[in-house]
Symmetry: C2
């Protein structure tokens, strides 16, 4: 275990160096096998308690991995990480509107900002592949399809949102195995929240996702839905804080921790 950890960390160091230097600004989905990656949300201190409560009330879309102290750009419990430089690409929001995409937030960082890291599905995607249950979008080499549902997350202060879901199609037999496996990743959205009829979630056309790419649902397969880390980004847009920063979707924070450390 230590040996696995050490060799993974050596690989991660090289990746982090590239990201930190601004030379790598792309998707992180396959660049660090076995390593925990995270969704990033940074909000002003006056919004932090409510955002923390929003995450605690909605652990499936917003599974908290770490919260930094106000103004602290370092996330020591996740490794050698400076949140100002160590995400490949950031989205900057002002008043709930996205105003910039940048590779570094050193120039806009202030003592007033609080960083939240949430687990993401990359951890269980790897496990699905290893178990012969590879997601369709991974097979197809495209983005996972995402849908805005009619199901409301539990609100907290100014933070509220429809729950956004990802979809992976499986036969019922394989869905049972996938439910069992993803349930072991509670800090990475965990087990699905629904399967079957998309109407029940308010999804009008399963072939027209709101984000990501459409994937084929084969004969005998049913759509299976997981809570998605885009949900907190919706909540931030709704809350309209004067400033907020997130990772660019797909361009995650790569930590120094192993995914399996967060499995049950």
């Amino acid at each position: 275990m230590l040996e696995i950890r050490d060799s993974a960390i050596v690989r991660v160091s090289a990746v982090r160096e590239e990201i930190r230097a601004g030379r790598f600004v792309g998707q992180t989905s396959t660049i660090a096998p076995g390593i925990l990656q995270g969704n990033v949300a940074i909000v002003p201190k006056s919004y932090a308690d409510d955002f923390k409560r929003f995450c605690d009330l909605n652990p499936k879309p917003c599974p908290l991995i770490a919260v930094a102290a106000p103004g602290d750009p370092y996330l020591r419990e996740l490794g050698d990480i400076d949140i100002r430089t160590d995400v490949p690409s950031y989205h900057v929001f002002r008043g709930g509107e996205r105003v910039a995409e940048v590779a570094d937030i050193g120039d806009i960082w202030t003592e007033d900002l609080v960083t939240f890291i949430m687990g993401c599905s990359f951890s269980f995607e790897e496990a699905l592949c290893q178990a012969g249950l590879t997601s369709r979008h991974v097979e197809m080499g495209c983005n996972v399809p995402m849908y805005v549902t009619n199901s409301q997350a539990n609100p907290a202060g100014p933070f509220s949102s429809e729950i956004v879901v990802t979809m992976r199609p499986y036969t019922p037999e394989r869905a049972i195995e996938v439910i069992k496996l993803t349930a072991r990743f509670p800090r990475n959205h965990g087990a699905p929240i629904y399967f079957g009829n998309p109407d029940k979630l308010g999804i009008r056309d399963i072939n027209k996702p709101d984000f990501g790419d459409s994937v084929e649902i084969k004969e005998g397969e049913i759509p299976v839905f997981w809570a998605c880390g885009v949900t907190p980004q919706f909540a931030i847009a709704r809350a309209k804080p004067p400033i907020a920063i997130t990772h660019k979707p797909g361009c995650m924070l790569v930590t120094d921790r192993l995914s399996r450390e967060f499995m049950i």
Copy 2:
């Protein structure tokens, strides 16, 4: 834990005394909360290796808990158990045909018989109730509906059978929780093997189970199917050994072990 175990064992001792004396010959579903109960199959020594292999090849319908040495009526690893007296009611088969229902097999026991004990769903039924996911047949106070499927168990020597399944209806959201919970009971049939369209299992009319009672499937619910301990009884009937003995369905062996000792 020790205290729970001790108080459960005290209760079980009283139950066993009644069963051993032939005063209790009925269903065992609620008589020993927290205690592991088992399906029983007893076959001649010359059939035992094949039957063992049949169980090993089909762990979902036939999850082995214990196998006794040939001729040994005691199951020490499961507690103070004499298999000749400690099952409330037995079915006796000769040449694959059921020829008797008895409360004691002391008079037909021989040195040539080998006892197999397999886990049963009573263990997870209790856990489902405690989790607010009570099975419909338990709510209705009737037997679980069972169906003979068109899916074949893996054969071993003379032992072969269609897989028999039990059915419990749930909404998709609740089915996900039920899959997660029953997966923790691999020695009690574990997670379901299928959900959704009964046609795929060759079930013509879900309202007409082959055994047990029909239960209501409410609007928004889907049928969820588990492998069933009746499967090995089918295999024994097909193999036609000169003698075989099983428990009468529902009248299980009550052990001295806790269900939770077999959970993962």
